[in-house]
Symmetry: C2
Amino acid sequence: MKKIALKSVTLQAEGACMSKKDILIEGGRFARICESLSPQDLDGAEVVDCSRFAILPAFYNGHTHAAMTLVRGYADDMELGRWLTQYIWPFEAKLTAGDIEIGSRLAVLEMIKSGTVFFADMYWHREQTMKVVEEMGVRAAIGVTISDLLSSPEVLEQNFEFLKNHTGESERVKLVVMPHSVYAVGNQVLKRCVEVARSEGYLIHTHLSETLKEVNDCKEKYGCSPVEFWDKLGGLNERFIAAHCVHFSDEDVRLFAGAGATAVLNPCSNLKLSSGIPPIPALMAGGVKLALGTDGASSNNNLDMHEEMKLAALLAKVSASAETLPAGEALKMATVNVARAYGLCDAGEIREGALADALLVDLDNERMVPCHDLVSNWVYSGDSSCIDSVICNGQFVMRGRHVDGEEEIKEAARACAKRLANA
Amino acid sequence: MKKIALKSVTLQAEGACMSKKDILIEGGRFARICESLSPQDLDGAEVVDCSRFAILPAFYNGHTHAAMTLVRGYADDMELGRWLTQYIWPFEAKLTAGDIEIGSRLAVLEMIKSGTVFFADMYWHREQTMKVVEEMGVRAAIGVTISDLLSSPEVLEQNFEFLKNHTGESERVKLVVMPHSVYAVGNQVLKRCVEVARSEGYLIHTHLSETLKEVNDCKEKYGCSPVEFWDKLGGLNERFIAAHCVHFSDEDVRLFAGAGATAVLNPCSNLKLSSGIPPIPALMAGGVKLALGTDGASSNNNLDMHEEMKLAALLAKVSASAETLPAGEALKMATVNVARAYGLCDAGEIREGALADALLVDLDNERMVPCHDLVSNWVYSGDSSCIDSVICNGQFVMRGRHVDGEEEIKEAARACAKRLANA
């Protein structure tokens, strides 16, 4: 891998204090951050003038359904049941493995362009998405999505078999056991998920307490909340990552925080589908580990982590006080907190030794002017237009807002979506 | 003014139906929208190939304090009282007329780049802001800001004198009487505002029921809510435009809607300052005319109307149902509804005869792919990075994401903000 030297890049130290540093990227990591790199450091490195740029951690998307980019804008502004049964599910039923590859490629392109280099994906035909992730140079936690309600018994068994072999895992791609939810997976199959996760060392990721209906149905069926149910299954621990977490009781918060599990909030999706406002102050007060995700493009309708980050901060404030979830904490929810939940322990921060995943943000973009406080500007004023370049694993995956092959990716997605809509 | 012919531009007709049309812009208006412009139409026109673009109405920002771009990120994440008294007011006290010109110019640049061509501005040193608006080719309703609490008696009288002369009004710049609020302006001065607005034919724009404290203080002082107080003053009518409107009682909604007044919501600012969630479904149900604004950059922290539009739709849905405030209605709140409130009766829509204010949105931006529904994509998935060009009054004010003179504007703002922060 090529050595890269970032010259005179702005970073934020403690508080609002900013400084210009040189950064050497080598072996996929931030090898050195200093006043001025030595000739030895620069030897063999590509030197990039960063005097116009600030470096900020790249986003990690804690929950999505990547290939649903194909359904973006296909159906909106309607009640959940009608939306799912009359529009989304019939559309999804037509998706082939090839379509999912095309949709995932568009998703990865969109994520890179909005500054995201990792995503946790819960969908079908995982091999296609894994291939796209490898090709496009990003990272992912790819779900082996488990559901006895949504899959045939054969597919269900194939999934458990697949989990035993760790097929396709690599430096940048990990598998995660992803039982869909307590309402789409039966009791016995959920138990098998907990067992295989334990025996094979996998994380578990699932939808949890997204709607009040889900919580009430669970209470009726199992006599307890979804969080309590996962606790009874033995699945609630530090290796448990739940999406949504909109409807938690005080007891849910206590159990979930005590187990060291992570809640991945998806505020745009929760608001758009009228599921509820994630109770961020209560989760924070209870000590729950918090991270962010976008959910799929059909309920968001984009994969932009910046929007989730700003919205999370705003919702936390209006639910409690203006001091709640300051900019720096919101940024962590969209970066290092997601990384840690998914086992990327040396990632999500700009520091020596960490994985070199980063954004070069254009300080000359009008939204970043003036710059009293870099992190405040980025979180509250910035948007995707401020991102000039994106680095993943020490390599540029976007440069000057261009991603290699992007025209072909969009053209293929356009044709595919049109064919499916008319099929 | 130059004739412009937009060739093969995509527009959305009824529902999700899209078509490609030619559009002739002449005399600052959409002169013709048709399948194919004639040679006579094209004679003397600049022909622009728009096969990659959709045309959408430009944004109109119903409430801001433009020059506060200089305070962007200067203080965040703190309680309102401390924020105002320890940070914002001391900073603002240092602003000269020249500083306000510099800050307003940055604001107009930022608004153009995020698709806004009109703003209603409540601030000081209006002549400077009016000059910037004329120079940069956009539109504005410029406030003669009235406050006996925040101004000296001399300045107060100068303001009323200014209102009698209509100094500086033009095709693109109108004056509006802007008493700050019921808490920063006394009873007698508010009455004078109502009188001068009536006698001189001005609109009134004011802050209204932004916080619960404001409502409670008003009840204590005047024995009624701020809305009821304006009603008693005789100021509540079709020419009354109020910013915020977060805390309305049922009776407030009835009075306000009955008067035909317009509420300009500022959801980002209301959430960030923890003022409350604007009660959009209740306002809609009561028949209140609704529009959107950004508020100032110190409490938002940008001037991006797209963010307000998406957030308004999301908040409406989570407050009521997923069907509430569909994409097309949210777009109207950010465009035509603002235009109508401020007396731009032929603006905010792409139709023959309307003022030619518009955005060329890049259909090749990944966020707009695939395009099952143009308006849904724009409202729920797009962001400022999708805007290629901006047209105001039939002339390009941004082209290929470039605004003339933008480097100098940013450099001046940077130097000015630095000087003020260190002063």
